[in-house]
Symmetry: C2
Subunit: 292 residues, 2 copies
Amino acid sequence: MVDIRHLRYFLALAEHLHFAKAAAIVNVTQPSLSRQIAALEDELGCELFVRNSRSVSLTAAGLELQRSAQKVVDSLNGAIRTTQAVARGERGELKIAFTSMIAWTAFPTLVRRYSVQYPNVGINLTEMLPNDLIQSVRTGESDLCLAFRTEVSQPLSYEALQSEKLCIALPADHPHAGKKRLNLSLLKGEPFILSPRTIAPTLHDAIMSLCHAAGFEPQVRMHTHLQGTIVNLVAEGLGVSVVPQAMAKSGMQGVAFISLPESSAMEMGIVWSQENQNPCLMGFLEIAGKPN
Amino acid sequence: MVDIRHLRYFLALAEHLHFAKAAAIVNVTQPSLSRQIAALEDELGCELFVRNSRSVSLTAAGLELQRSAQKVVDSLNGAIRTTQAVARGERGELKIAFTSMIAWTAFPTLVRRYSVQYPNVGINLTEMLPNDLIQSVRTGESDLCLAFRTEVSQPLSYEALQSEKLCIALPADHPHAGKKRLNLSLLKGEPFILSPRTIAPTLHDAIMSLCHAAGFEPQVRMHTHLQGTIVNLVAEGLGVSVVPQAMAKSGMQGVAFISLPESSAMEMGIVWSQENQNPCLMGFLEIAGKPN
DNA sequence: TAAAAATACTCCATAGGTATTTTAT
DNA sequence: ATAAAATACCTATGGAGTATTTTTA
């Protein structure tokens, strides 16, 4: 059975055309090399070298083997290296689930930092509805997701990434626009644009309890879980809303953002499964754990 | 040191995901396979399988190795096969030297028969002057050549392929054209077109001795070693010539060919070196030796 | 004659086998 | 309880080393 040792010995001899020198290269003695080359020729059933006590040269078959054996050895070395790289999490694929809100958090920066440090890992970002995030991690469909703080049970884990207060979004021409502070109760009669509870329960409930604390039940006119769309609708004057403060960074014209210091912080973090063996996940968690 | 055995065992296990079954595939016992897989993982420094007593599955690194190891094994098998094919003369290159006269002999058919039987051998046909043919074989520049019968010394060999009588070529409007037989001496005063002795001595000398036997010294007006050109010049009425009978097959208009049964046969054959180790040469000689 | 490859002989590392234990469902 | 992988222990194949012989330019 031809194995890699035969090829390594053969390649050394094919290069140096001298048994003693080639033997030294591969760290064996000349008789050992002689025997292995003879065994290889016997195994293949053909001569690879023409040799006498004065010279060694390749036959046509030997010349062919020199070309192809080098490829075999190279591809074996490559296979070993890439396998080890995968094991170290330096190569492979990381499947990340996110919702459209992602664009307004620190998550994009985190993904960029990861992709810079692990340039050979393919990052598969899949958008899904907020409610489906955790389940996709549980089934292994995703390696991790970004979600609001949540209680997760074994084998899932949660780690906080970032906290955001909420803020009020008003049309720029709204009577209260321009104020530094605004008591939510003043929006009692306004039409609200909110995320539907069925899709984004955490955010929905947080806003609802703010309104209840202010003593009113908001009149919800429109639903969408896309925060960017909510801000757009507010800019069109179709209603008011309460959105994560990061949305203020959107630079959208026609909207006034008024901070809500009394709102509880909306904490976001990443969720992953401790049973997930994808080595790329370890690298991501390590980076997520570091302060940026 | 990772070798092919490790990869073969690994691939069997990666495919069947069951130690006992995979062990049977590669014809070893289960404990032997267990130990070799463990040794491979140890050598690579990473886990390739997640296993317990109920199930075996590939890790990310194992999945990567499955892909690349298959390529390594395939390329090794390919290297072995092509090397053996080269040794058997079924692959490689055959360098053949010829002169332009080649088109008028049995040689093209022989080359075609060879290339049909050995479709993976590249045939390198190099045209050269008749005088240079033998030398190119001696230096190894060519593996074989077609030449007129010649005495060659070790390590060169000659084998006859084909014999050709010579014939007279006359312009179609020549007074003697149309005759079945023609004594050469009747061309005594005619302008002759011949191959120069410096380039094609064998043919030149054969024609000269025919003329001398007929009792005259030909008046040589033009020289060229290209038999096709000679026939063209005859067709233009510029002279007469004596050419190999195969030229009659050329179908050239304006030329009459008259056989010369008294001419000695011009024997052609192939010349090669017995020291030439090109396995393709053996295949060619075998085909050349067979009657077509 | 001398440089270099092949051979003879010995040793030992390790792959492989049998029997058994451990493990997880 | 059972199927399956791991481990213990033994055997023997064959790869490697040293010493020597053979070969050929």
